[in-house]
């Protein structure tokens, strides 16, 4: 007799209120020891699908399914109480953001013990403590006895995520659902968390992995479901979906992933033809002075307890006209502080930045002001960089030089350059999507016709297909206007796609720099080697 699948879902529908269906009939099965991945961009319904399996679809959600069975037992017919027991005991759920999901005021160990207590496991207190320590040890948290007594904010991001996984493993469930388990983590930490999940799977647990990251999915999944706007556009074995995607959307998603292979190509399908504006060809970069030069930048910050923290220790680099210098590093490596010093928003404690060979950070702000138009910045979070009261038109107009004539026409021209229609002028930042906001931010950045744009993680908060469009746009503008970019990112694929040279930062120091292919394909420094090795890659090359 064939064993029934561990979990079988047939025609799952979730809606919020009438006519607002966010999941429109999803079916799948999960076998023990297998990994099913659900991929999709924001709003695709992937998280809601996963959450509704454990009854966390959210308030006002109406969940319906033709069949929902676990180990052959029909769950739709179960009374609420029973259902809760099943999912608590047999289905573990790893939440997305560990800092938000863990109770800030409760020791991590107590959080994990709660599940044990609720399900009448490990009755005595000492027994529970021992169990918790064993769990933390198993997920690779160092010093588990100490960490169990600490509060979430005293743990690092990776440790918190491990603690969450430990909590979901506490009752030894047969199925583990992980909703974007590595999204907020650095690549090296992400690699270790994925190892841990793979190891759990190898011990016979089934895994449902929700992710927007195709590389992560290709590393982990046996089966893949691609979702878009609540519908399944494609499903099947992972190697088949990644190698020979049948659906146009899957193909587009895969093409949109920036990497070394995508250098010099467009990531998104070409949309409307771009307006041909007078091209200002880039001056060849043989000038005596580099456009931007940083010499021995040092920045120290005072911690709340009064001690000094050196965020940047002696970083030097130069940026030539028409060139893109990528700065890559993990969180806390000091790369954003470097960006702020280059923008002269932060004064370096030692060293200085030269712009066009002339003093820049050393100038008093009053004198610097008139040169500021030559260098602009695009932030990771454009929303907070816009005055919420202002319309798009006013935001862009505000950054035009004072002597600019035909201001309205120029705003239209800038909007066209970033492929936004004129209808957007009267929108306010809150009425824009993430990608549209970033386009407006770019329009603002190029409005003053700068020579250099500092991009501080400009695509990190965007979905992969939107990210592709923005990267294409940045590439186009570079060719059209000969702009140089100082491009800061934690994503090696993005860096590789866009940069000519790259600088690797770790703990405030520049550990390695040089030509992008040299550094990312043949890294010399140990840290860079680890970083490159940790990057999840699309496991399957797309058939041409």
């Amino acid at each position: 007799m064939i064993n029934p699948p561990l979990l079988a879902v047939d025609n799952l529908r979730v809606s919020f209120g009438r006519g607002n269906e966010v999941v429109k009939g999803v079916s799948f099965t999960v076998e023990a020891g297998r990994c099913l991945a659900i991929v999709g961009e924001s709003g695709s319904g992937k998280s809601v699908t996963a959450r509704s399996l454990v009854g966390l679809a959210g308030q006002g959600a109406l969940v319906q399914a033709d069949r929902l069975s676990f180990e052959g037992r029909d769950l739709t017919a179960l009374p609420d109480r029973e259902w809760r027991r099943v999912r608590g005991r047999h289905i573990g759920f790893v939440l997305q953001d560990a800092l938000v999901s863990l109770d800030q005021l409760r020791p991590v160990g107590r959080e994990i013990a709660e599940g044990l207590q609720l399900h009448g496991e490990a009755r005595s207190r000492t027994e529970r403590t021992e169990h918790v320590v064993r769990l933390l040890e198993r997920v690779g948290v160092p010093e588990p006895t100490v960490k169990a007594r600490q509060l979430p904010h005293e743990l690092s991001g990776g440790q918190r995520q491990r603690a969450l996984i430990a909590a979901s493993l506490a009752l030894d469930p047969k199925l583990l659902i992980a909703d974007e388990p590595t999204t907020a983590l650095d690549v090296t930490v992400q690699a270790r968390i994925l190892d841990l999940l793979a190891e759990t799977q190898a011990r016979g647990k089934a895994l449902i992995l929700i992710s927007h990251n195709l590389a992560v999915v290709s590393r982990m999944a046996d089966e893949v479901i691609v979702m878009r706007r609540g519908e399944v556009v494609e499903c099947g074995a992972a190697d088949q979906v990644f190698r020979e995607p049948r659906h146009e959307y899957t193909r587009r998603l895969l093409n949109a992933v920036p990497s070394m292979h995508s250098r010099g190509t467009r990531l998104a399908p070409a949309s409307a033809p771009r307006p041909s504006l007078p091209v200002q060809p880039a001056a060849p970069s043989y000038a005596e002075n580099p456009l931007l030069q940083a010499n021995g930048l040092v920045k120290r910050f005072r911690r709340p307890d009064g001690s000094l923290h050196t965020a940047v220790r002696g970083v030097s680099f130069s940026l030539n006209t028409g060139e893109t210098l990528g700065i890559v590093g993990e969180s806390g490596s000091g790369k954003s502080t470097v960006a702020r010093m280059v923008m002269a928003l932060e004064t370096p404690d030692e060293g200085e930045v030269l712009l066009n060979g002339a003093p820049w950070t050393a100038l008093p702000e009053r004198q610097r002001r008139k040169w500021r138009r030559g260098i602009s910045i695009v932030y990771q979070d454009p929303l907070s960089s816009f005055d919420p009261r202002w319309t798009v038109e006013r935001v862009i107009e505000d950054s035009l030089p004072k002597d600019e004539a035909h201001r309205r026409a120029r705003v239209t021209e800038l909007l066209e350059l970033v492929s936004l229609s004129n209808a957007f002028r009267i929108r306010r930042p809150l009425e824009l999507s993430g990608g549209q906001r970033q386009r407006v931010a770019i329009a603002r950045a190029i409005a003053s016709r700068p020579k250099v744009i500092v991009c501080d993680e400009p695509v990190s908060a965007l979905d992969v297909s939107i990210q592709a469009q923005i990267l294409d746009l940045l590439g186009d503008l570079k060719h059209q206007f000969g702009i140089s970019y100082l491009f800061i990112s934690h994503d090696l694929g993005v860096i590789h796609h866009l940069s000519d040279r790259v600088l690797v930062m770790s703990q405030g120091e520049a550990v390695e720099s040089g030509d992008v292919d040299d550094i990312l394909l043949r890294p010399q420094c140990r840290y860079t080697q680890d970083l490159v090795a940790a990057v999840p890659r699309l496991r399957f090359a797309l058939a041409a």
Binding site: L345, R373, Y379, S384, S385, P388, R389, D398, R428, S448
Partner: protein, 299 residues
């Protein structure tokens, strides 16, 4: 509010033809929640009562009638009558002007003090900030009502003293909120973005910091209006309000206190007026706030 009309103005400027303009006005009007219309209607009633009490009142608010004392609400006296047979509804109507004067006056005064202190602390640098913050902390050491009580005890209880007492008493709280607003907005991303664009500090203060820090003020003011009327009523209830024959709402509450066991309407009706007034002002203020923050858009 003027800011709302500017929004309308710019939007209208974009749509040239009349039909689009009309559609815009219609969507604009229909998009405002019913609660705001109701609140505006009620507030209109209060303003009418304050400006022309004669239109609304049904009886002479000062005429005593010893044959109909302490009558429960009925068709002839919808809010009932008091211990001297005066019509409570007409007295509430008559008192509106004085109560509103106290509310508006006290709010204006306390906001002026609070703005001066709050802006000086929020924009004036570390020295000014710590001086003003310490001063505010000293003020906080006194219970709010104590300041007001002190004031009313020293000077005679007139409308003017009540305004000053309530205005000064509520100012420190607002000052601290305004200071916090300015400090927070100073650190906002758009302020940094404007710095990076090369704008001068004066321009940034004028274009970004001021308008954004002031946004919660609309709600603060509307809440303050209601609150200062409640405060004034509280003082009156303690016997420190405007002298008895005057039908100021707080004074009505104070006068009705002795009869509350067998004539509930003497307390409930003026209290009701205070609550409805405060509520409708707040509903409108909240709506304005949403609109100013860009959270609410008619189209």
């Amino acid at each position: 509010m003027s800011s709302t009309s500017t929004i309308t103005g710019t939007r209208l400027g974009f749509s040239g033809d009349f039909r689009r303009r009309l559609t815009y006005v219609v969507t604009f009007v229909t998009s405002i929640p019913v609660s705001v219309y109701v609140a505006a209607f009620i507030l209109g009633g209060f303003v009418l009562a304050a400006l022309a009490p004669g239109v609304l009142r049904t009886h002479d608010p000062f005429r005593t009638d010893l044959f109909s004392t302490l009558q429960a609400p009925s068709l002839s006296h919808i809010f009932g009558t008091d211990q001297s047979g005066r019509d409570v509804f007409s007295r509430v109507v008559q008192g509106t002007a004085q109560s509103m004067a106290i509310g508006v006056g006290a709010t204006t005064l306390s906001m002026s003090i609070a703005l001066t202190l709050g802006i000086a602390a929020g924009l004036g640098g570390r020295m000014a900030d710590s001086l003003i913050s310490r001063f505010l902390e000293v003020m906080f050491a006194f219970p709010n009502l104590f300041l007001a009580l002190l004031f009313v005890t020293i000077f005679d209880a007139t409308t003017a003293t009540l305004i000053v007492a309530v205005g000064v008493g509520t100012a420190p709280g607002y000052a601290r909120m305004i200071r916090g607003q300015f400090l927070a907005v100073r650190r906002a991303g758009y302020v940094e973005a404007a710095t990076a664009l090369g704008h001068s500090w004066q321009r940034i203060v004028r274009q970004h910091i001021f308008p954004n820090a002031m946004r919660p003020l609309v709600v603060m003011i509307t809440l303050g209006l209601g609150q200062s009327i409640v405060w004034a009523s509280g003082l009156a209830f303690l016997g420190l309000g405007v002298a008895p024959p005057s039908p100021e709402w707080g004074a009505l509450l104070d006068a009705g206190r002795d009869y509350v066991v067998n004539a509930w309407w003497l307390e409930v009706m003026p209290g009701f007026a205070i609550i409805v007034f405060a509520l409708s002002v707040t509903v409108i203020g909240q709506h304005l706030q949403d609109r100013l923050e860009g959270r609410f858009h008619p189209v």
